[in-house]
C-alpha cells in the first residue's frame, strides 16, 4: 500500500513537472498574406502617389513586422523572375528615389507594423515624385519581414519570413514600343499537343503590360483553336518568354491533327497598335496512318485467303 502511494506521488510530481516545462521556442511559425501582388504606376512629376496594400496575419500568433524596399531589374534569360540589385549596385538616383517611398498606417509613416492573430491592415504606399524627378522607371519589391527575438542557450537559426509585392513606376513615361521577337513551333508534327514559343521584346524605356492569344486556323481558314496567353509585365529594354495562364509553356491541347495549320499570334500592350505574327505547321498522324495501313493489309490478306479456300 505504501509502495503504491509512493508510485502515485512520484507519477503526480512527474506530470506536474512535464506540464510546467516551457515549450520549445520553435513550436510556432508565421503565416502572412498580401494583396495586391503587383502595382503598376504611371506618374508625371510632380505627384504625390498614394496606393493601398493589404497585409494579413493568418496565424494564431501576433506578428511584428518591419519592411524593406528592394530594387530589382529584369531577370536573366528572358525569365519572369525579379533580379534583386545588391546594395553595392544601387545608384545614388535609386537610393534617393527609395528614400521618398514611405508606408503609412492611418496616414502616419511607420517603420514597424503589429498584426494581432488573424488581423488585416490596410496600409498606404506613399511615393513623393518631385517636380525635378527625371524621366525614368523604378522597380522595387516592398517586403514585409517578421521580427522575433528568441535566444536559446544553444546553436540556433532565427527564421524570418518575408512576403512582398512588386511596384513598377514610370516617371514621365514617353513612348511604348514592343515587338514580337520570336513566334515559332515545330514545322512538322505527328500529333498534338502543340507547343509554341513566344518572345516579346519591350524596346523602349518604360515598362509595359502585355497580353494576347494565338488563333489556330485549318487549311480551310476555319478558326479551330485559341490559346490565351497570361498577362505579363515587361520591364524597360527587356524580353520575356510569354506563357499560358498557370502554365510555364504555351500549349495548344489538341491531339488529333491532319493537314496544314496556321497560327496567328496577337499581342496587345498599353493601348498601342496590336502586334501580329504568323507561323504554320503541318501535322500528319503517322502512327494512325501506319495502324490503318496494317489493318487494311490484314483485311485484304484475310479476304484473299478466304477466296482461295
Amino acid at each position: 500500500m505504501r509502495l503504491k502511494s509512493k508510485i502515485f506521488l512520484i507519477a503526480s510530481v512527474l506530470i506536474i513537472i512535464l506540464l510546467f516545462i516551457p515549450k520549445d521556442a520553435n513550436a510556432s511559425g508565421y503565416s502572412l498574406s498580401i494583396y495586391p501582388t503587383t502595382i503598376r504606376i504611371k506618374a508625371n512629376s510632380p505627384a504625390i502617389v498614394k496606393t493601398g496594400v493589404i497585409i494579413k496575419n493568418l496565424s494564431d500568433n501576433t506578428a511584428e513586422l518591419s519592411y524593406i524596399l528592394k530594387p530589382f531589374v529584369a531577370g536573366n534569360n528572358n525569365s519572369d523572375k525579379v533580379n534583386y540589385l545588391l546594395y553595392s549596385d544601387y545608384t545614388s538616383r535609386e537610393a534617393k528615389f527609395l528614400q521618398r517611398v514611405k508606408i503609412l498606417e492611418e496616414d502616419q509613416p511607420v517603420s514597424k507594423i503589429t498584426l494581432s492573430p488573424k488581423q488585416e491592415k490596410n496600409l498606404t504606399i506613399y511615393i513623393d515624385v518631385p517636380k525635378e524627378e527625371e524621366s525614368k522607371d523604378h522597380y522595387f519589391s516592398l517586403v514585409f519581414l517578421t521580427q522575433d527575438k528568441n535566444n536559446p542557450d544553444s546553436t540556433y537559426s532565427q527564421i524570418v519570413e518575408g512576403i512582398g509585392i512588386n511596384v513598377l513606376i514610370s516617371i514621365n513615361p514617353k513612348e511604348y514600343k514592343a515587338r514580337i521577337k520570336n513566334f515559332s513551333t515545330s514545322s512538322f508534327i505527328s500529333e498534338g499537343p502543340v507547343k509554341f514559343n513566344v518572345e516579346v521584346e519591350n524596346t523602349e524605356q518604360n515598362f509595359i503590360n502585355s497580353s494576347g492569344y494565338i488563333l489556330i486556323t485549318n487549311i480551310f481558314g476555319q478558326n479551330i483553336g485559341k490559346v490565351n496567353l497570361g498577362e505579363r509585365s515587361i520591364l524597360a529594354k527587356s524580353t520575356v518568354n510569354m506563357s499560358n495562364e498557370k502554365l510555364s509553356d504555351i500549349i495548344w491541347k489538341e491531339n488529333l491533327l491532319l493537314g496544314r495549320y496556321k497560327a496567328k499570334l496577337i499581342i496587345n500592350y498599353e493601348n498601342s497598335p496590336t502586334l501580329i505574327k504568323e507561323t504554320a505547321f503541318i501535322s500528319i498522324p503517322v502512327r494512325q496512318i501506319i495502324i490503318l495501313t496494317i489493318i487494311g493489309f490484314f483485311v485484304i490478306l484475310v479476304r484473299k485467303k478466304l477466296k482461295t479456300s
Binding site: 511559425g29 498574406s33 503587383t38 493601398g52 493589404i54 519572369d80 490596410n122 519570413e161 479551330i224 505579363r232
Partner: protein, 246 residues
C-alpha cells in the same frame, strides 16, 4: 471481283470519313474572326473599377467572379493595382517555425532540422521564394561555423553538390519537394546541398522555389562541426522571402 471493288470503295469512303472527321470536327471556338484586312476580337467583358486612391483595394473574394481591373487616377498619376486575371491575386506564405534549434553541436556528428514552407495562394504569374542568411552561424566572440563546401569542396550559394560525409563540415541547406516540383533544379539529386547566400558578404539572394501553383516544400538545414571548432553557442538569421513573378 465485284467484292474486291466494293472493298476498295468501302476503304476509300472510310478513309474520306476519317480525314473529314479529323479536319472538320473542330468547332469554331475562338471569340474572334479575321481575314487579311481585319481582326474582330470578341474578348471577354472587362469590368473597370474606379476607386479612391486612398482607399485600399478590396480583394476579390469569389474565385469565379468576373475579371476585374482596379485602375484609378490621382493628380498626375495612374495606378493599375491588379491585372485582368480570373483567379485571386493574393499571395499567402507560411513557415512552420520561427526558430531552429540545433542543440549542442558535437564534432563529426551532423545535425539536420526540417522546416516547411507553404505557399497556399499565389497569383497566376507564379512566385519565387528567395533565401539568404544575415551572416554565418557565429558567436559573440566572432567565432563562426563556416558555410559548407560539401563533400568535394565545390558547393557554394550558387551551385549545389553532394554532402553526405560526416567529415565534411559547415552549415548548409537543401530544398525537398513534397507535393510538386517547386524547388529549383539544384536540389533534384538526393543529398545535394548549398550554402545560404551571405548578406554580410553582399552575396545575391538565391531563388530556392519558383512555381506557378501553390505548393509545400521542406527545407533541410544541416550543421556539422570539426574537432577544431571552438565550443560555443552559434546563431544567425535565415530569411525566406516570397514575391510574385512579373
Amino acid at each position: 471481283m465485284i467484292f474486291s471493288s466494293r472493298l476498295k470503295k468501302l476503304s476509300l469512303v472510310s478513309a474520306l470519313i476519317v480525314i473529314g472527321f479529323i479536319v472538320f470536327r473542330n468547332q469554331t471556338i475562338a471569340q474572334s474572326a479575321s481575314n487579311k484586312s481585319y481582326i474582330m476580337q470578341g474578348g471577354e467583358i472587362e469590368q473597370k473599377t474606379l476607386i479612391n486612391p486612398i482607399e485600399s483595394p478590396s480583394k476579390p473574394s469569389d474565385k469565379n467572379s468576373e475579371k476585374t481591373s482596379n485602375i484609378y487616377f490621382g493628380e498626375n498619376y495612374q495606378v493599375i493595382s491588379e491585372s485582368n486575371q480570373e483567379d485571386s491575386q493574393a499571395l499567402s506564405f507560411s513557415i512552420s517555425n520561427n526558430l531552429v534549434d540545433y542543440g549542442k553541436l558535437t564534432p563529426a556528428n551532423p545535425v539536420s532540422r526540417i522546416i516547411d514552407l507553404t505557399v497556399s495562394e499565389s497569383p497566376s504569374r507564379g512566385y519565387s521564394v528567395f533565401t539568404f542568411e544575415n551572416n554565418e552561424l557565429s558567436d559573440a566572440h566572432n567565432n563562426f561555423i563556416p558555410d559548407t563546401t560539401c563533400d568535394n569542396g565545390t558547393c557554394s550559394e550558387i551551385s549545389s553538390a553532394l554532402w553526405s560525409s560526416n567529415l565534411s563540415f559547415g552549415f548548409g541547406y537543401r530544398c525537398e519537394n513534397t507535393d510538386g516540383s517547386g524547388c529549383t533544379e539544384d536540389f533534384s539529386e538526393k543529398g545535394y546541398f548549398k550554402q545560404f547566400a551571405n548578406e554580410s558578404k553582399s552575396e545575391a539572394y538565391q531563388i530556392i522555389i519558383n512555381d506557378l501553383n501553390s505548393r509545400k516544400a521542406k527545407i533541410e538545414l544541416k550543421a556539422n562541426i570539426s574537432n577544431t571548432q571552438t565550443k560555443s553557442s552559434y546563431s544567425n538569421s535565415i530569411i525566406f522571402i516570397a514575391v510574385p513573378n512579373l
